[in-house]
Amino acid sequence: MTQPPIVEARHVSRVFPMAAAPVTALSDVSIRIEAGEYVAVVGPSGCGKSTLLHILGCVDVPTSGDVLVQDRNVGSLSDAERSRLRLREIGFVFQRFFLLPMLTAWENVELPQAEAGVARLDRRRRTAELLEYVGLASRAAHRPSELSGGEMQRVAIARALANRPRLLLADEPTGELDQRTGGHIITLLDRLHEDGTAVVVVTHDVAVAACAHRLLTMRDGQIVEGSS
């Protein structure tokens, strides 16, 4: 217990007020993600996996309970501070990639670095290194429309890693890929974890879940197995 957890949720609930009746997406969830951990979150559709990921990733705030990122309470941060936290400490990978279509692979990876004020030369070095890392050095000048789904997802992972986050959050990263290309992504996540980044991946994919060192099973907004 020398190092604080990268992110910790304490008794977190998230209720969406709906016209018919409020929907409880998370109820009283507590979880700690330690540095360098590799966690998979599984569970039936609608059980709150994405909601949990969004809250851990500071793009959503809980209705009750606290989220701490490296011992800082996210609830007390301004929107701008949360943006900076996401920019530097957290990497996001989405099912639908969400690359900017008018930018090349290189530019997509460079964007968060530029936003973080990384000097041009460092940016260039880091971007080259990342594209190499995800195996797309030769596709740097290509736009997303010229890439396959698996390649786009690899660019998205490179983008997520741009500012060397300590935590990578991935929401069904293989959801739109066939098994073979999905396999590449799994290998990549594996390697990332070996290189010291904590990874939390929401997935339906048993292959992905099998790689993780810790498996969280969710049901009806609660973690029913694997919480610690």
Binding site: S50, H54, A80, R86, F98, L100, P112, E115
Partner: protein, 404 residues
């Protein structure tokens, strides 16, 4: 900042159809707005230019009735001399205007026309611009000298050296006066002439030959040129102090009065049209930007999740708006200029409009006002889409994009 601009630029060119529609819309709106701005002060500027061009900056009349309709200034010589003696005054020219009928030499074939006879002292700098021949001061031998405008010269085939006989239409109760033969010495342009105007100018003293009574009946107006160091305002004040019953008015005041009353229609029309135009431009840009933003919500939410700040994505939308409006605004200026020349020609063709009057006149501040108005419109148009982006719920949007 450069990055925001570049991204906004790339976003704009990524949707060339939408962007082109926006830019074209702004070109139309901008051209019309530009023209309305030219129109709003054009007549005033043009009128001021016309007044100034005559080279006199103060007018003295008997009363504040419109020139040439009210009573005349009697003992004009003495009055003019007294005004000329003021240190604030450089020159005084008494001017009268009468009407006269052309006595046709080719008899019945020519319908007898009527001319405006401007009578002014020949030693003064003329109010007209000589285009051919010489001025009145040259003298002409036996017959008194006369300068005619182009219309009269063309219509009667006159040139310097010809003779023109006029009969004063200034007798009491329309009585027929004896004809007077004038020697044409020159052809000139008169500032307030319209295309059909028939104007001639002769010496003030020759009014006595044309009209019964002549100078004794007084002059219509004294044109005064102020001493440059003193300026029109001081000269006018000095004249007014010297001769309280007379009506003294500077060009400045005249323009001001006209712009308040007669020319205000154009200002009002241009204000209404400019406002409506601007509003349409505003709506067009708002609609296009909103559509564009709504198409990209997932992307924007993802960028926010990756760590781009709210300010950053909002600034992006603003940049897109400013770029679209800016591009249109720049293209609109030449279009507006061409359009204004065309519209100006249409309006100037109205009967009774002096040929040298323009309705659309460019001045530096038009461009300044234009830039401000369109700049404000581009910001205003971006407000709603900016709000959408600023209040975008990141998590819900990401989810909707995947599930939906």
């Amino acid at each position: 900042m450069l990055r925001v601009l570049r991204l906004a630029w790339l976003t704009s060119v990524r949707q060339p159809g939408r962007t082109s529609i926006g830019v074209l819309g702004v070109v139309a709106v901008g051209a019309l707005l530009f023209d309305m701005l030219l129109l709003s002060r054009g007549l005033v500027l043009s009128f001021r230019d016309l007044l100034d061009r005559a080279g006199f900056d103060v007018r003295v009349l008997a009363t504040d009735a419109a020139p040439f309709t009210g009573p005349r200034i009697v003992e004009a010589d003495a009055v003019a001399a007294a005004i000329a003696a003021l240190p604030q005054v450089e020159a005084v020219v008494p001017v009268s205007i009468r009407e006269a009928d052309i006595v046709s030499e080719t008899a019945a074939s020519q319908p007898p026309g009527r001319v405006q006879f401007i009578a002014a002292d020949p030693q003064a700098r003329p109010m007209w611009t000589l285009v051919d021949g010489r001025d009145l001061s040259a003298g002409a031998g036996a017959n008194p000298p006369l300068v005619v405008n182009r219309t009269v010269a063309d219509r009667l085939s006159l040139s310097p050296g010809s003779t023109l006989t006029l009969r004063g239409a200034c007798g009491p109760d329309g009585s027929v006066l004896p004809p007077v033969a004038f020697a044409i010495v020159g052809v000139a342009g008169f500032p307030f002439d319209d295309a059909a105007a028939q104007t001639v100018a002769g010496r003030l003293s020759d009014i006595g030959r044309l009209c019964e009574g002549g100078m004794e009946l007084g002059v219509d107006m004294l044109l005064v040129r102020s001493n440059q160091r003193e300026g029109a305002g001081r000269a006018a004040a000095a004249i007014q102090a010297l001769l309280p019953p007379l009506h003294v008015v500077t060009n400045e005041e005249l323009v001001e009065r006209f712009s308040r009353v007669q020319f205000s229609y154009f200002r009002q029309i241009s204000f209404v049209l400019a406002t409506v135009t601007l509003f349409f431009g505003f709506l067009l840009i708002t609609v296009l930007l909103t559509a564009s933003v709504n198409q990209r919500l997932g992307e924007i939410a993802a960028l926010r999740a990756v760590g781009l700040s709210r300010t950053r994505v909002v600034a992006g939308v603003l940049c897109e708006s400013v770029m679209m409006v800016g591009a249109g605004a720049i293209l609109a200026v030449p279009v507006g200029l061409v359009l204004s020349v065309w519209l100006d020609d249409i309006l100037r063709a109205l009967p009774g409009i002096p040929s040298d009057v323009h309705f659309f006149v460019f001045e530096g501040r038009t461009l300044v006002a234009y830039t401000w108005l369109l700049g404000a419109a581009s910001v205003g148009a971006a407000l709603y889409p900016m709000r959408i982006v600023a209040t975008l719920p990141i998590a819900a949007t990401l989810r909707r994009e995947v599930v939906g």
